[in-house]
Amino acid sequence: MRSDHKYILQMIDPNSHVLDLGCGDGELLSMLMKQKNCRAAGIEIDEKEIYKCVERGVSVSHGDIDSGLADYSDKRFDYVILNESLQEVMNPDKVIAEALRVGKKVIVGIPNFCNLNARLQIFFLGRVPVTEGLPYKWYNTPNLRFLSIKDFRDFCLDRSITIEKECALNAKGEIIFAHNLFSDIAIFLISKASVK
């Protein structure tokens, strides 16, 4: 099992209603359905992945996350997942706000652009870094946004979003110390009290 999936699975309570934005081939949602008895739905932009979702029995909608979640009423889902997809959206601010509107809690998984490896590559090689979490070259990356763990914390602080959990990972597993320096990816469990 992918380590990010393992930690996301741990964050989600059984029997929850889950929406995965950028659900890919539906592997994570399928595990949530089987192992945690969750009700699951996904949104995915890549046609090829939709076939795999349908094969797994995951309900999926073909579309892009940027066009919004207007179909869903407030706090419809227990969890909304944005794993490895936030950095690819045009308008992350709006997507996060919408995810927090329709979900009681939101799980965000991001690649960490500022880990030690990346910093060394920039400093010593003078080149845009290629790392475990960001395996692309500048010309073929699907990523539109480059952020670090600290950047995401600042983002949440500015918007009064509560970070309930933060889990930092690299190839070896969970990082306990200096998340922003050592992790390839990070997973946040966030929430926001609804504004009346």
Binding site: Y51, V54, G57, S59, H62, D71
Partner: protein, 372 residues
């Protein structure tokens, strides 16, 4: 196993005084539906799938008739090991009410007069077509269908069925369809209808046993065919290729291959379809509006059906955004719906020819409906 020939069957109901009450309030009876079945109904009658055909389709969805040289209209999708797998499922397809392929329609004999109905046939709606097929399913003793499915007009029928008889199905597969006809869709139909009705041979619908309104039928079919393709698929298929000549003729004879294709399609249509049926069915499509008297979100209240909705990028007759509206309304009702827009250049016809992607989706979707 050797291929078995398919035979069309007939079911007659709504005998006086229990005629079918149409949406318009008019009573119609007796009603005959022509239908075919493929595969075997299991002991608890839980493996039945009802397929609806498109505007000019018929009950012959799959397999071969003994006398015919062509397979059913959705044969690549229905059969042993295919998407609608007849080794597992019992597939039913009926010619719609108002049609001309064995079911009661304007070309049928009115039992009161002994003559074809013609324009005395009552105007029918998508709702009437669906209700009449529910009689057939009841007659076959099937309480709950595994699925209803169809493309184009068939998709509208599957959609109507899913809100009218939600407890009678587990799932619905809607392909290249819509929930109400837009002004453009009505306009295209109106041109096709006017082509038929302006043919002197149409004679206010009274042409049976006389000269057929062949020219009007041909023109209406040409328009239809243009709307079923996309600009790209026409360009790929015909381009500016000339038909049986090296140079253009500088006259009004046939120059381009696309002209020849449309003329051929138009001319052959009059042989296989009834002009009045075309008028009635196209009108039924135009009348349909699932959001009538409510809104689309309200239409899906209280439904538990699992949906698969398929559209095609190049379909400009039933563009994807119309299905996306359906998906949105279903999601507002917390329905279990999957939606995919298949990237293809075949236009509206894709539901008949884009088999590979549809097959994967349909077979896997049905597997998961059964598993549930």
């Amino acid at each position: 196993m050797p291929q078995q020939f398919i035979e069309t069957q007939y079911f007659t109901f709504a005998q006086a005084p229990n005629e079918l009450v149409l949406k318009s309030g008019i009573k119609l009876g007796p009603v005959t539906l022509a239908y075919e079945t493929y595969g075997l109904l299991n002991a608890d009658k839980s493996n039945a799938i009802l397929i609806f055909h498109a505007l000019t389709g018929d009950a012959h969805a799959a397999g071969w008739h003994k006398e015919s040289k062509t397979a059913g209209w959705w044969d690549p999708m229905i059969g042993p090991g295919k998407a609608f797998d007849t080794d597992k499922y019992f597939i039913i397809c009926a010619n719609v009410l108002g049609g001309c392929k064995g079911s009661t329609g304007p070309s049928s004999i009115n039992p009161v007069t002994g003559n074809p109905y013609g324009l005395s046939f009552p105007v029918i709606t998508i709702e009437d077509m669906v209700v009449s097929q529910k009689y057939l399913i009841d007659h076959l003793g099937i309480k709950k269908l595994l699925a209803v499915s169809g493309g184009s007009m068939g998709g509208l029928m599957a959609l109507e069925w899913s809100v009218r008889f939600p407890d009678s199905i587990q799932s619905a597969i809607l392909i290249a369809t819509n929930y109400k006809h837009t002004a453009q869709q009505i306009a295209l139909h109106e041109v096709a209808r006017q082509a038929i009705m302006s043919d002197p041979n149409w004679n206010k619908g009274d042409y049976y046993g006389k000269e057929l309104p062949a020219q009007g039928m041909a023109v209406s079919r040409m328009i239809g065919h243009i709307t079923y393709m996309s600009e790209r698929s026409m360009e790929e298929k015909f381009g500016r290729k000339l038909q049986d000549k090296e140079k253009v003729g500088y006259d009004f004879s046939q120059d381009f291959e696309v002209e020849s294709y449309l003329r051929y399609r138009g001319a052959s249509f009059v042989q296989r379809f009834d002009a009045n049926s075309y008028l009635y069915l196209s009108k039924a499509l135009d009348y349909f509006d699932l959001s009538e008297g409510t809104d689309l979100v309200g239409a899906f209240k209280g439904i538990q059906t699992k949906f698969l909705i398929i559209t095609f990028t190049s379909d400009w007759l039933y563009p994807s955004y119309q299905s996306k509206d359906i998906v949105r309304a279903m999601k507002s009702n917390d329905l279990d719906v999957s939606f995919i827009e298949i990237d293809t250049s075949y236009g509206h016809d894709s539901f008949l020819v884009e088999i590979e992607g549809q097959s994967k989706l349909v077979s896997h979707f049905l597997n998961n409906v059964v598993r549930k």
